[in-house]
Symmetry: C2
Subunit: 427 residues, 2 copies
Amino acid sequence: MSYSGYWGKCLEFLKKNQIEVGSLVKVRTDSTYSGILMPRYEHSDDRHIVLKLKNGYNIGLEIEKISQIEIESQPSIEKESTIQPQTDPKLPKILLISTGGTIASRIDYRTGGVTPALTAAELNASVPELSKIANIDTEVLFSEYSENLLPEHWIKIAEKLDLYSRSEYKGIIVAHGTDTMHYTSAALSFSLAGFPKPVALVGSQRSSDRPSSDAAQNLISATKFLVKTDTSGFFVVMHNSASDDEVACHWGTRVRKNHTSKRNAFQTVGGTPAFIVKKEDIEKNPSFNSPQRAYLPKINFNDRVLLIKYYPGLDPAVVGNAMSLGYRAIIFEGTGLGHVGKVMYESIEHAKRKGLFVGMASQCIDGTVRMTVYDSGRDLLNLGVIPLGNMIPEIALVKAMWALGNTKDVNEMEKIMKENVAFEFSD
Amino acid sequence: MSYSGYWGKCLEFLKKNQIEVGSLVKVRTDSTYSGILMPRYEHSDDRHIVLKLKNGYNIGLEIEKISQIEIESQPSIEKESTIQPQTDPKLPKILLISTGGTIASRIDYRTGGVTPALTAAELNASVPELSKIANIDTEVLFSEYSENLLPEHWIKIAEKLDLYSRSEYKGIIVAHGTDTMHYTSAALSFSLAGFPKPVALVGSQRSSDRPSSDAAQNLISATKFLVKTDTSGFFVVMHNSASDDEVACHWGTRVRKNHTSKRNAFQTVGGTPAFIVKKEDIEKNPSFNSPQRAYLPKINFNDRVLLIKYYPGLDPAVVGNAMSLGYRAIIFEGTGLGHVGKVMYESIEHAKRKGLFVGMASQCIDGTVRMTVYDSGRDLLNLGVIPLGNMIPEIALVKAMWALGNTKDVNEMEKIMKENVAFEFSD
């Protein structure tokens, strides 16, 4: 019997009623609830059990208030590694590349923590619905939480995708940790601009073996999206709301992780997602157009770009120090319409004299940098600071690393930064 | 006649019809619009005129499509400096302290730019409605755009407010630039925790002499809020929507400027505003409680706190470099639940050995840092990194500057950072 994470009074209660984690139960308290008994983890008390309801929400129920509890069905036991997804030659082929992250991980119920474990094959096998939509080939590229990914990993993913650019696959899923998924989606969008197939970066905010996981729904929706829509380019495919009803396909250069834990943490900034996968159909955003660019991969990044958020009291010497570390470009997250305090001017002037690229995004995140409105902005323009429109700061950073990887000439870099390469400017 | 910003065909059109900027006009195109002719600025074309409609929105109308235009009233000419607001001894007294910013500025129509100009007295005089709500005394503390404010300015504002903590004023308005208004509201919230009066930081996203300005509505609402509610502490009082209908009073440590240009750019993160000033009444958020803390001002800040956003490719040497600049504390904007890549561990260990405070907020901005879920988080906890809950990163930065200004002991600083001093933790 598994009572993962339950202890004290809860454990006693579950043992007495012979109910284990994963069972579908009906519980009567003030109202009647039907749902799957979930494992508990981290700082759990011993007075509540947690059910995952059919709408996708979890609910905590105080055991003292439970007047009746009965089992509707026992937990389904799936030996994942032994399941072989069926193939149907009539279905399109999709490639699933795993890079790690929560979507490919399990909870360690002893420690309450999450560790990467599932391979791409296991992930595919663990979601049997997938085999009805597509024939999925799987490949493990690496297995890292995305906070540990570096530009060198972006290059590995891009090179792998480039290999499959003219393949038989209808589309490609990249299973990826959510922490830096939008950095990777931007890196792929720039380095593989014009990629002829649709690529869905898919993650999950709750690990795959937890009943509340969003992994299955995100994978199923991404597969549907790749199979059923006629588009190309890079998308982040994640829950659009707290429930399982809608999954959003965010354009890869306009997306940001805006919440630490919500399943719908990813949002299209300054707009709505390119596509929404609903239960029955896929809705296209009328303002979204598939890219028409020729595919000319330029898989180069140079990490000598420093992102600096300006704030009151920031020491201007951080700019000089960045130069001593060999940084060749600075992206400011300025305030408001794209400002930094006068205290920074001298160090910016110095950086420009040394040939650095200095770009301006806004820490407001949403909205457009406009440096012609106030004296401060005009002063900065005069110093040679390049306004970066409504590019999201993190995306501007990745673009600058890509531009710097492809040219050493600061004027050429300015030109690249101003060009709308992959819909990174949306206004 | 004033045709500010209009040129070419538009100028010709306006001259022919003898309509000047500021006139209330009725225009027939596909539909009929009534509004005030606005000045144009920045990159304007010569084919559109702009009206401010009664709902607060601006609309651009193509002159080629205008079938009829007539003047409903001429621009009202107010010589602001000659207007003396009436005083009514029965009304409560409010103090208006001006620090600069757009709210106290005018457009320079020659350059299209905005320059600070209005004094607090002019500001008061320019909004005649104020004199019906309160008797307003005014004082200019300084006149700076808020991107130029430094911790030393926070100290000046705090010291000035402290002088009035036991005064006859019912409440105090601080007119402030919007770029760093949330940094200042946090600085005041910490250094003057328990302040016995309500203080409203008020700014505007459009300058006071533009017909689309939000300055008047924000000032009127702030005055109503200070006069009519029985609370204390620091609030950012700004438009709650694009129209003039609602003005939000955001709690000073839970607010952020989330858009570069919208009038409702300021948002309460992870919740709803403390109060909403509506046309007829003021709505209190039921989850907001006025602070009950004793007033013990501690007006000290130390700017040796570096805010670092972690991203793939960040050079760990920036931490060592920060130490060489004398930084004593680092606030990371980590990814997701509060992570940085393994590449940073050694430099963090080094910083901890040198006695620095290292705190973790999330670049997601919304949601809570939880460092017990993943290996990465637990590793960082073991290195001595302090999780900062759901504190907004910029607020955590200001709090760290304040904590460091009040203690040199890193353990004491950790204690201060974990304490909920001014509702900076809301979960």
